[in-house]
């Protein structure tokens, strides 16, 4: 019976977590219908993916940039629409970005914005649909003035340290996203529209000129302006008109794609098309010819896209090649091809869906009949899937490390795959040493949970998970020692909690009766919990003190009662308490395991919760959904603990009653069944 319940529970947990993982992938209720949508050619997309650009402080491929941009706006990395002949069309981030840059009229119709709260839509004066829904730019554009007005107001309130309500925060976020989107769709406006020269054509008609052509005459234009100024007169109307157009177009291209490596090696910031135009027109560019060439290349590209898709790919490739060359000359190109491979390998996704998930399912099936051939086959399956998952996970972590050129843990996201890999690895080693099947069972489940968490984190934040390190963290020695040790300490603490959980669940579900083997398994589990607690203490203590020593190097104090430091200290204290409680005889089997399980709460407080307090030196951005996840986790552990304690007390009471009954009727012992 217990096994069936366990099987059911396993399936329910896996199913629940799976749903959580794919929540962002659930199909939209109704797809946008765009019969005229022409999908991009595969080779065009491949070329576009590898265009190097600089964003968030590092050089990366356009594919990565597009992925996070789409994630921040839409909450996922795929748009599905109904195209020609009612066929479903899948639009990837790179295709979406190509649409926004080269076919804005199409991009405006794509459902690019996810609005989690329909109140935001109502607030800006539109008619809301579902509570959470996706909208296209075209649908939102009717409310654009109101949205921007509110956005400006809320930004000002934020500057004045006023607290914004939930709806206000979401409205401000939407306004910013719409602004970002406009920076994309307007990026190549200069190449599409050109400059209209009033009265310059035949018969006094207007004539359209390329911006690059105008840039070549920048000296002349500036001369006209200077002359007018010298005479104390206003510049001629057609010049004023021209300048206004150039200002508008260069502004539209100023905040989008920083795709142009600057010619000066000392200049660190890459340039946008807008920077290039503005630099030449104002005479502040150190490389006007290069700037004109850049703008000409973009104009040619845009002009080609409209007419010859095949040629477009060829020109895009040439343009990408020139950008790569310039990036290489600056010594900044190294991570781009590696990151493209990393994106293609999709290590964590594959480890999650093709290794740990099937591993966890095989484990559940094994629970039904752990003995015999079936059990052995399932165990072998779990081994294979877990090892494969661990391999992919490790490959992903190593490749990220190579891309970032630093040790594997430097931000909160990094800790998740690292801890997951740590737990899976230690569980597999423990299984190798013990061969009881228990540690083996932990491996795929923890791998699965860890990677779901990583996925939720990445999707929830929608920001680059390979962001560069801030000054204080830029020390490979300390990142290697303190951060890795403390993170391994979290992993060990969680593993101890999982072993404790296994003990508690086995007891509650009746896996372990009072038979000899049952008692032996209990003792084994408790010893294992104890062993992992020892290592948690070792790693957390060393990690914490190393952190202190680092802080002493960086800030001049070993200990500053920073929330993250306090969290680490709490883990140390809790594990010390378990070990000494056990030595003093206050914690026995139940006590040790329940205490280790509570350790998960202490680890979570240190790993996640302190970050949401918003104070201290280790404070990172934290969203409401993560807060909710943390509290739900506390609740879940609390429930299991209560059940465990209840069961333990009940068991004790039953044993006591049995003993009393036995003592009053000594003769009954003879009737007790042999064990």
């Amino acid at each position: 019976m217990g096994r069936k319940v366990a099987f059911g529970m396993c399936l329910a947990v896996i199913g629940g977590i799976f749903l959580l993982a794919v929540k962002e992938m659930r199909p939209e209720k109704s797809y946008t219908v765009l019969p005229d949508y022409a999908p991009w050619q595969e080779d065009t997309v491949e070329v576009a993916k590898g265009i190097p650009l600089q964003a968030g402080g590092r050089v990366k491929p356009l594919e990565t940039y597009a992925g996070y941009l789409m994630l921040s706006m839409r909450g996922d990395r795929l748009i599905k629409i109904v195209g020609a002949d009612g066929d479903k069309v899948k639009i990837t981030p790179t295709e979406w970005l190509l649409d926004a840059l080269f076919r804005p009229e199409v991009a405006m119709k794509l459902p690019s914005f996810r609005v989690d709260n329909s109140e935001v839509i109502e607030l800006v004066g539109l008619e809301a649909r579902e509570k959470r829904d996706r909208y296209s730019y075209e649908q939102l554009s009717a409310a654009r003035p109101k949205l921007f007005e509110l956005g400006t107001r809320y930004e000002e309130m934020q500057r004045q340290d006023e607290e914004l309500s939930r709806v206000e925060t979401q409205t401000l976020a939407l306004a910013r996203l719409v602004r970002n989107f406009e920076a994309l769709i307007g990026y190549f406006a200069f190449a599409r529209s050109g400059i209209e020269l009033l009265g310059a054509g035949v018969g006094g008609e207007s004539q359209v000129q390329r911006v690059s052509t105008l840039m070549a005459t920048a000296d002349v234009i500036r001369g006209v302006l200077a002359d007018a100024q010298a005479r104390g007169e206003a510049p001629p109307a057609h010049v004023t008109n021209l300048l206004q157009q150039i200002t508008d177009l260069s502004n539209a291209a100023k905040f989008g794609l920083p795709v142009l490596p600057p010619p000066d090696p000392e200049t660190k910031d890459w340039l946008t098309a807008g920077n290039r135009i503005w630099g030449v027109m104002t005479g502040t560019s150190s490389d006007p010819e290069g700037a004109i060439a850049d703008i000409t290349a973009m104009e040619t590209l845009v002009a080609t896209e409209a007419h010859e898709p095949a040629k477009f790919t060829e020109r895009l490739e040439t343009w990408r090649g020139s950008l790569e060359e310039r990036a290489r000359d600056r010594g900044e190109y190294r991570p781009v091809p590696i990151e493209l491979k990393y994106n293609r390998a999709n290590w964590f996704f594959n480890a999650l869906f093709f290794c740990f998930l099937p591993g966890a399912l095989v484990l559940s099936l094994g629970l039904l009949a752990p003995q015999g051939g079936w059990g052995r086959a399932m165990r072998a399956g779990v081994w294979v899937f877990s090892l494969l998952g661990l391999g992919l996970l490790a490959a992903g972590i190593v490749q990220r490390s190579v891309i970032m050129d630093r040790p594997p843990v430097g931000n909160l996201f990094d800790t998740i795959p690292f801890i997951t890999a740590g737990v899976v690895l230690v569980a597999l080693i423990a299984e190798l040493l013990t061969r009881r099947g228990i540690a083996l069972g932990i491996a795929p489940v923890m791998g699965f949970i860890g990677l779901v968490l990583a996925r939720r984190f990445e999707f929830g934040d929608g920001t680059d998970t390979m962001d560069p390190l801030i000054a204080v963290l830029r020390s490979n020695f300390w990142l290697m020692t303190h951060v890795l040790t403390i993170t391994a300490g979290y992993a060990a603490g969680l593993l101890a909690a999982v072993v404790g959980l296994v003990y508690v669940l086995r007891r509650i579900l009746g896996f372990d009766d009072d038979s000899k083997s049952g008692k032996s398994t209990r003792r084994f589990l408790t010893r294992m919990t104890y062993g992992v607690v020892c290592f948690t203490l070792l790693l957390s203590l060393i990690g914490t003190v190393l952190g202190g020593i680092w802080a002493n190097y960086s800030w001049g104090r070993f200990w500053g009662w920073d929330p993250k430091e306090n969290g680490a200290l709490m883990i140390v204290l809790w594990n010390l308490l378990i070990l000494h409680g056990r030595l003093g005889g206050f914690l026995r089997e139940w006590g040790t395991n329940l205490a280790a399980l509570f350790g998960a709460v202490v680890v979570t407080f240190s790993w996640w919760h302190v970050n949401l307090l918003g104070v201290g030196l280790h404070s990172y951005g934290f969203s409401d959904s993560k807060k909710m996840m943390v509290f739900s986790f506390y609740g879940l552990i609390g429930i299991v603990l209560l059940f465990g304690i209840g069961f333990m007390l009940h068991e004790r009471a039953s044993k006591k009653a049995a003993r009393l009954e036995g003592a009053s009727r000594p003769g009954d012992d003879a009737l007790a069944p042999a064990k």
Binding site: G56, I470, S475, W478, G531, I542, G556, W561, N566, G614
Partner: protein, 404 residues
């Protein structure tokens, strides 16, 4: 049964030592430290770090009532300082009396020794360390740091238009004063004494025409001290007080309103001699002078994420100069003082503007103790747990060989 009888017959001192060295006390203390750390972490969100640390770790208080989200929790808890002190005793006695001495426990003994040293280091740091900061503009020199939290009332004798001799009263002698209280400071080397009253930890001088004044607030020269809530970041507090210059025979003299927020000191003339009165952050003289030659900072391209900041300085002492580069994670340690790269400004400086660099200055006799204790504890724990692991593995029942 026998043991409990034996226990009952033990002398009281032995029982006390047994309790003090026992696991029960150890567990209670660890739990208390854990709970105090947790509550302190939550409380610093509302109250600020300085105030919370003072509340939880001061040796002056024995009990405290925690607050969660600004609400008092009616649960008296012992001060973490005293819990730590008892923990030290428990750890020392436990190590000496309880832990078995032998090869099997060598790791535990070493680790406990390391922890005792760490706790001792924490105590020495808490009691004897000093911290402050020194801000220097490029091209300028300084040989004084400013304390973060300590303020002083300064009386400066002025001779020939220049400060000649400075007399100070530390404001820690004032912090227990209620606004209505007055405290007289006998100034041995001055022709007058100072009576200080109306001391506020955080206040601003406000013109009577601009602010609503309470009945208790004294007006001096058209200004009064408007009290403010203490800042969450305690180093931002600007104390204020009313100072009366009193003749040695007790005759009341001129009254001044002193505030850290004031730009200029108050001046008075007695017997033809000029004095300046000021309330400011305490200064801390360094044994050497620091000249800032150049400060450079760099952000990650296109972001406001700091990538690097460093100061090229010269340390000048007895006419000798030593060039030093101070940067993040690479401080300057000289003569017991450590200079850390802390911050810089002005934040809105344009390229080419003159910048200033701020160094955190620390003197801590136990500076390196945690590092040494880490080596000791780490080795101890590693030895112990590796021994345990080997035992765990070797004690595993042999794997059942499946019948073919």
């Amino acid at each position: 049964m026998e043991s409990s009888v034996a226990n009952r017959n033990k002398p009281l001192a032995a029982k006390v030592v047994e309790f003090l060295s026992g696991y029960a006390l150890a567990c209670i203390l660890m739990l208390l430290l854990l709970v105090l750390t947790w509550l302190g972490t939550l409380e610093q969100v509302d109250r600020g770090l300085f105030v919370t640390v003072k509340k939880y770790f001061s040796y002056e208080t024995f009990f405290l009532f925690p607050e969660i989200k600004g609400k008092l929790v009616p649960l008296p808890l012992p001060s973490a300082f005293w819990v730590g002190a008892v923990f030290f005793v428990n750890l020392a006695l436990g190590t000496i009396l309880r832990v078995r001495k032998g090869w099997k426990t060598i790791g535990v003994l070493i680790a406990h020794g390391g922890m005792l040293f760490l706790l001792l280091g924490a105590f020495v740091t808490q009691v004897f360390s000093e911290r402050g900061n020194m801000a220097i503009t490029e091209g300028e020199v300084s040989n004084v740091a400013q304390h973060y939290f300590d303020h002083v009332i300064e009386v400066t004798e002025i001779a020939d238009g220049k400060p000649a001799k400075v007399h100070v009263i530390a404001t820690r002698h004032l912090e227990d004063l209620q606004p209505d209280d007055e405290r007289l400071f006998k100034m041995a080397n001055l022709p007058f004494d100072l009576a200080v009253s109306g001391y506020r930890v955080n206040a601003r001088p406000v013109s009577v025409s601009q602010g609503a004044r309470g009945p208790a607030e004294e007006v001096i020269d058209g200004f009064f001290l408007q009290a403010r809530e203490p800042e969450v970041e305690a180093e931002r507090n600007m104390p204020g007080a009313v100072v009366e210059v009193r003749a040695k025979d007790g005759t009341p003299g001129e009254r001044f309103l002193l505030s850290t927020a004031s730009f200029h000191p108050a001046t008075l003339e007695i017997d033809g001699k000029l004095y300046a009165l000021n309330l400011r952050k305490a200064l801390w003289k360094m044994p050497f002078t620091v000249a800032l030659d150049n400060f450079t900072h760099e952000f990650h391209p296109g972001t406001m994420r700091p990538k690097r900041f460093e100061s090229e300085i010269r340390r000048i002492q007895d006419g000798r100069e030593e060039p030093v580069l101070i940067k993040m994670n690479d401080p300057m340690r000289r003569q017991g003082f450590t200079f850390f790269q802390a911050s810089w400004g002005p934040q809105n400086a344009a390229p080419g503007d003159t910048l200033f660099s701020v160094f955190e200055v620390v003197r801590n006799p136990a500076d390196k103790w945690p590092e040494w204790s880490l080596y000791v504890t780490g080795v101890g724990l590693l030895v112990h747990f590796l021994m345990k692991l080997v035992l765990f593995i070797t004690n595993q029942p042999k794997r059942r060989v499946r019948a073919s």
